[in-house]
């Protein structure tokens, strides 16, 4: 189901949401926003039918249900009663018309601030405190600075690999700020900022990238594959979109727990081509689980532009195809992200349903340190997004105008963070690598005998031929 936002000037306006039937009796409800600019909260008055009842959906499906509300209601409603089929009643038409492959107008994008950081006059958004705004802004700057420093470290050969999140700082920090600590995160790999918000320290990030003994991953993964149980951030996994059905599974488990928490999973535009994307959206809707799908549509999947990735109007329209409420948001607008994710989270938990958010943005950096994006896209395009549409600058303007930040604080903060990252690298490089035993543990819950034997053999060999082995590997 798509929420159509009718932006109008004036004090109040309301949004009408229509749902097409699934296996349930039809229902429609209105969603009303409280008016005026700086109001405290958005609220929904929904009178949807009974909350998702466990187990009812399967048994209803075999019965033909009553009518459905049609989206285009100016059709001849009185005239035709419709015809029953599995799935419900459909009105019939004598006119053979194909739904167009795309609608004339693209789905609109929710936005709070314009490119210069001024709130759009008609936009409704939740009040953000100074503390929260500054924390978000600092997080964005920290992410940007950490990225720059670690990217340079890779170029110097101190890291083997790195992935930056340039251009997506707002998505990272603002979405994290809108979530609760108990919400479980299943990331793709360009969401380090979410982990940063939750308290992962610069030293912890660097330890993982260096694969030293203090890495929570025990040196088993490539850089940027962070994971931390205590931060409710699942370990990054390289294959694309595998985290999506997993997120639905985690949400299923969470649903059974009945906690005031949801699952949030991130993915890029490229991920939406994977089979896992379709399976997980479909499944999430059928199982009615509290999961928020956040798509970072940044225009590029390595060198594949979105025009070659899909032919739909982005990802937001795909939500409705699966029976999922969706919204398109300006991903470079921190306040828009903060608002949309907050509302999505509430809906997901209260109504136990999946929500899809498409955050439009641009991948300013290269895909990774193994990529040179100037080879497949124009340099001035990158420059444009780096300067005129930079999410950090936009938010900075808004925060500074509020009197909550200043230029002096900016330069001081940036210099400070950079120094911290450099120190973390220096400290991290001096820390030992993981011990040999870590190669054999965690394959299974208990180390099996064959691996114990292999470890013995390796240690024997190292003892007998020490000259063949690096000296910095603790045994």
């Amino acid at each position: 189901m798509a929420i159509w936002l009718a932006g109008r000037r004036g004090a109040s306006y309301c949004v009408k949401a229509l749902i097409s039937t699934t296996f349930r009796s039809s229902r429609s409800y209105t969603t009303a926003f409280a008016s005026n600019g700086n109001s405290d909260s958005l609220f929904f008055c929904g009178n949807s039918s009974s909350a998702a009842v466990f187990g009812s959906q399967r048994f209803e499906s075999t019965k033909a249900r009553q009518q459905l509300d049609l989206l285009s209601s100016d059709d001849d409603e009185e005239q035709n009663q419709g015809v029953d089929f599995p799935g419900g009643r459909v009105a019939f038409t004598s006119e053979m018309s194909f739904l167009p492959e795309s609608s004339e107008k693209r789905v609109q994008c929710y936005r709070v601030l314009d490119d210069n950081g001024y709130p759009l006059s008609s936009t409704q958004f939740k009040h953000v405190s100074k503390e929260l705004a500054v924390k978000m802004y600092r997080g964005m700057v920290t992410l940007q600075t950490m990225d720059t420093t670690l990217y340079e470290a890779q170029r110097q050969g101190r890291l083997s690999f790195y992935v930056t999140s340039y251009g997506e700082e707002a998505i990272n920090l603002a979405s994290a700020a809108a979530l609760g600590f108990d919400d479980l995160i299943l990331p793709q790999y360009r969401e380090a900022g979410v982990l940063l918000w939750r308290g992962f320290t610069l030293q912890e990030f660097v330890n993982q990238c260096l694969g030293n003994k203090n890495d929570y991953g025990k040196g088993r993964q490539m850089p940027i594959h962070y994971g931390s149980n205590k931060h409710n951030y699942f370990t990054v996994s390289s294959p694309i979109a595998t985290q999506l059905p997993q997120a639905v599974g985690v949400a299923y488990s969470l649903k059974m727990d009945k906690k005031d928490a949801c699952v949030v999973t991130y993915f890029g535009d490229g991920s939406t081509s994977e089979g896992d994307f379709h399976a997980s959206l479909n499944f999430a809707a059928v199982m009615e689980v509290p999961v928020v799908f956040i798509c970072r549509n940044n225009g590029w999947a390595i060198s594949t532009p979105i025009t070659e990735q899909f032919r739909s109007d982005g990802i937001v329209v795909k939500g409705q195809a699966y029976g999922i409420r969706s919204i398109r948001v300006d991903g470079n607008d921190a306040l828009a992200i903060y608002n949309a994710v907050g509302v999505a989270r509430e809906m997901a938990i209260k109504e136990q349903r999946p929500i899809l958010i498409e955050a439009l943005t641009y991948r300013v950096g290269h895909h990774s340190t193994s990529d040179d994006s100037t080879k497949y896209r124009p340099v001035d395009e990158i420059e444009h997004w780096k300067t005129a549409r930079n999410p950090v600058s936009i938010f900075r303007k808004w925060v500074q105008r509020k009197g909550w930040w200043s230029d002096e604080e900016e330069s001081e903060f940036r210099a400070n963070v950079r120094k911290q990252v450099m120190d973390a690298i220096q400290v991290g490089e001096k820390i030992e690598k993981p011990p040999l035993a870590d190669m054999f543990s965690d394959v299974y819950e208990e180390v099996p005998s064959n691996l114990m034997e292999q470890e013995r053999l390796v240690r024997d060999t190292v003892k007998r031929h020490p000259q063949d082995y690096p000296t910095n590997i603790p045994l």
């Binding site: 187990g55 890495d215 991953g217 025990k218 599974g249 896992d276 399976a279 997980s280 499944f283 819950e445």
Partner: protein, 379 residues
């Protein structure tokens, strides 16, 4: 060693091999190996289907985190009725019917295991597991290692594996070797009802991801089952093979349906004076190298039997194992019986030619014992 002895005696004295066999048998100090000796004296019987169903039922009753998910497992009572009655008993949140997406529900299962549930994911056949194999290997098998123990995956993937009867190439492949090669997975292959109960319960309780390879044709077969095996706390150890039939002339390893064939082959061989030891592997990963090697050191000859493709198969691994650990004890090259190296044909006559039959096992055993065998088309 006994095998050679009996041959020499037979050759020297012109005695029939049967007499020689018996003579040699009496010299042994170990208790005589009678077939079917290993089932206790309880007389209850159970089909493999009921064994699996009861195991699932008991584990779901004992632990509310255990749930079943797959296509047709609920309303339809299971494509092969393994999950019969579970939906009525435990409700739709614990017996979840899924849309047709193996990748989807395998991934969802793994995700739910990440967060504390214990899913039992059913594939209608393991041939369809290929559509989910990324989740089995990259998500389930490797997660504990890659997350350094932060994410463990106590999941069971189960379903029929290998050929059935007349189901063609895309429904007949055996995946024992594929999953058996992946560190992080445990791969179990039950044969009898006792195996089915004990190993499935062990798999569900195990904190690691387990691939549980059943066999469609065995579902309907009845086996005697002891009172001990019927107890709800019954569990078999993972990684231990079972010696189904003790013998001293030759070791035959098999798993799943081929165990039955190997036992029948052993009976035929017995009549010809070859006393075969049949090992039911029960577990492909971890492979019970100790039992296999101890047996080969006793008999000095080995025939491996499997329905899967020969190249890179389970038999190849067993052969390498024996060469590594017990080369000096082998009196003959290892005989490897496997399915034909072709996609499974449908026509009944061709299908029969594509999989090991009892005669193939008998001929291989004789070859390993240096008996001359008539030239015949081998599997």
């Amino acid at each position: 060693m006994w095998g050679i002895l009996s041959q020499k005696l037979g050759a020297a004295r012109g005695l029939s091999s049967q007499v020689v066999g018996n003579y040699v048998l009496r010299l042994r100090l170990a208790p005589s190996a009678m077939p079917m000796r290993h089932y206790s004296s309880a007389t209850k019987e159970m089909t493999v289907r009921d064994a699996l169903n009861s195991a699932l039922d008991e584990e779901m009753a004992a632990d509310p985190n255990v749930f079943v998910m797959g296509e047709e497992v609920g309303e339809y009572q299971g494509a092969y009725k393994i999950t019969k009655g579970l939906l009525d008993k435990y409700g739709p949140e614990r017996v979840v019917d899924t849309p047709i997406t193996e990748a989807g529900f395998a991934g969802i299962g793994v995700g739910s295991a990440y967060h504390g549930l214990r899913p039992v994911i059913e594939f209608m056949t393991f041939n369809f597991s290929m559509q989910a194999i990324d989740h089995i290997i990259n998500s389930a098998a490797k997660s504990n290692y890659m997350s350094a123990g932060q994410i463990n995956v106590p999941i069971v993937f189960r379903g029929p594996n290998g050929p059935a009867a007349g189901v063609g190439a895309q429904h007949s492949q055996c995946y024992g070797a594929w999953y058996g090669s992946v560190p992080g997975l445990k791969v179990l292959v039950p044969y009898s009802s006792e195996d089915a109960r004990g190993l499935l319960k062990a798999a569900i309780r195990d904190p690691d991801p387990v691939v549980f390879l059943e066999n469609e044709l065995l579902y309907g077969e009845t086996f005697p089952i002891s009172a001990e095996a019927l107890d709800s706390s019954f569990c078999l150890p993972i990684g231990k093979a079972k010696i189904e039939r003790e013998g001293k002339d030759i070791t035959i390893t098999a798993f799943s349906k081929m165990v039955g064939y190997a036992l029948k082959a052993a009976e035929i061989l017995e009549k010809e004076g070859i006393n075969a030891e049949v090992i039911n592997l029960r577990s492909i990963r971890p492979l019970d190298r100790a039992t296999i090697n101890a047996s080969v050191r006793k008999t000095n000859r080995l025939v491996t039997v499997e329905e899967g493709f020969p190249q890179h198969g389970v038999g190849a691994e067993i052969c390498a194992t024996v060469v590594e650990d017990s080369f000096g004890y082998l009196d003959a090259p290892v005989e490897r019986i496997a399915g034909a190296d072709v996609p499974t044909p449908y026509a009944a006559n061709l299908e029969r030619m594509a999989f090991p039959q009892i005669e193939d096992i008998v001929r291989a055993a004789k070859r390993a014992c240096y008996r001359s065998v008539p030239m015949a088309a081998s599997a």
